[in-house]
Symmetry: C2
């Protein structure tokens, strides 16, 4: 609720909560959709372990990663369901929401990179298409290449949350933070002729950048890069952001 307008706060305070508030511990989270196997995508599950019922929706490969790590056993199978989702096959996940996993261009195959440069990453990468009441939202935190096919997918959506990892492809190298370009990490950059601002200029959706690396200057409110992004009609995601479809 960080950043919620006073109007929204008032509206919510008058609306009965969507979830039961009877227990001493409770969570509004009904489901978790996994679309990547990186630590930043899966480690958060470990803080949802207080015997709260919810469902994990994920492709088989990511469920295999959870199964291969006994620590995720803290999510008791009697309380937390794990549901396999196949790409392009819509799944109803309650509350009128339908989920479809969209394959996205991913990073170059692991075997082409030296073992020391990369962590365990799931391939391929997916985006999540969520539909509710005739409207659609796509969440795509990792996309290596905005192909014609990707653009076609994004045109279906009313809201697009898109890979905002890096502003420039060599950003990590220039900052001395790593040896890899963005594309090698599986992320298209925001700037440049093949970048997100240029390629997503014409899609009709509300466009929000997320999964922003801490080297990315758009995180600074007063940076020229932030101004460029906002001038191009993109928003920058923030903790506590709330999106209504």
């Amino acid at each position: 609720m960080v950043g919620a307008s006073p109007d929204l706060r008032q509206q919510l305070s008058q609306t009965p909560p969507l979830w039961p508030r009877t227990a001493g511990r409770d969570s509004p989270i009904r489901g978790v959709i996994l679309i990547g196997g990186d630590i930043d995508a899966i480690a958060g599950l470990l803080v949802l372990r207080e015997r709260q019922a919810f469902t994990i929706y994920a492709p088989g490969r990511l469920l295999d990663i959870l199964a291969a790590n006994p620590v995720f056993g803290v999510l008791d199978p009697a309380v937390v369901r794990r549901v396999e989702v196949r790409p392009m096959e819509p799944v109803a996940c309650g509350c009128g929401l339908t989920l479809t996993l969209l394959p996205m261009p991913g990073k170059v195959p692991l075997y082409l990179e030296s073992r020391n440069d990369v962590g365990p990453e799931a391939e391929p990468t997916y985006a999540a298409l969520l539909r509710s009441g005739g409207r659609g939202m796509i969440v795509a935190p990792a996309c290596a290449d905005i192909t014609g096919e990707v653009l076609e997918q994004l045109r279906q959506a009313d809201v697009v949350l898109f890979d905002g990892t890096l502003f420039t492809d060599d950003e990590m190298i220039v900052a001395g933070l790593g040896k890899k370009t963005g594309r090698r990490m599986g992320h298209v950059s925001i700037s440049g002729p093949d970048g997100t601002l240029a390629r997503l200029a014409d899609i009709p959706a509300r466009r929000i950048l997320l999964h922003i690396n801490n080297s990315n200057p758009i995180l600074l409110r007063d940076s020229p890069e932030r101004r460029a992004v906002e001038a191009a009609g993109f928003e920058v995601a923030y903790d506590g952001m709330e999106i209504r479809l």
Copy 2:
């Protein structure tokens, strides 16, 4: 640094940092001591994965838990050393610090509890004794019983951080948060004739309660339980607390 006094802040701003501040990403953490296998004791390792060099000190059983979970592979062995520590055998861990693991009374064996009631927990439980410049600090976040042997150990220390999980043994049950008493979870309570306030009344150390459950009323600054704890000469740990030996 939350809660640091203005004096301390000024002092620190005039002191050269203890760690090199040359890299774009850096961390002051030189070592991590694991004394339990619970999620809240090990999951934090996953956020220390930005190729920062440090050493993990742990008993063999806990290193086995890390090894059995491939997600901890994000801590590249070329950068993050894992050092096995045997109970009661001091280990030098740099910066003039010596670590000794002290066995502590733990929870009742897993096989005596129904599978649904417990998560994966390591046994036995340990406390960490840290010595530096002739002074000693004991960190004991889990202790099921303050035996004479435990008291003898605690008397060695100038500072003791001790299990403050629950104020009363049936706290979780009364609050409807669980079915287990504190002792069944491996935690002595703060109150009561065998509790921490009574049993640690006479040890010479500075005494700080940590590992405080969110059902514990000492977290409320204006609660009678908080006043009782402070009146008995105990402090309540908080995020960002800094302790100088």
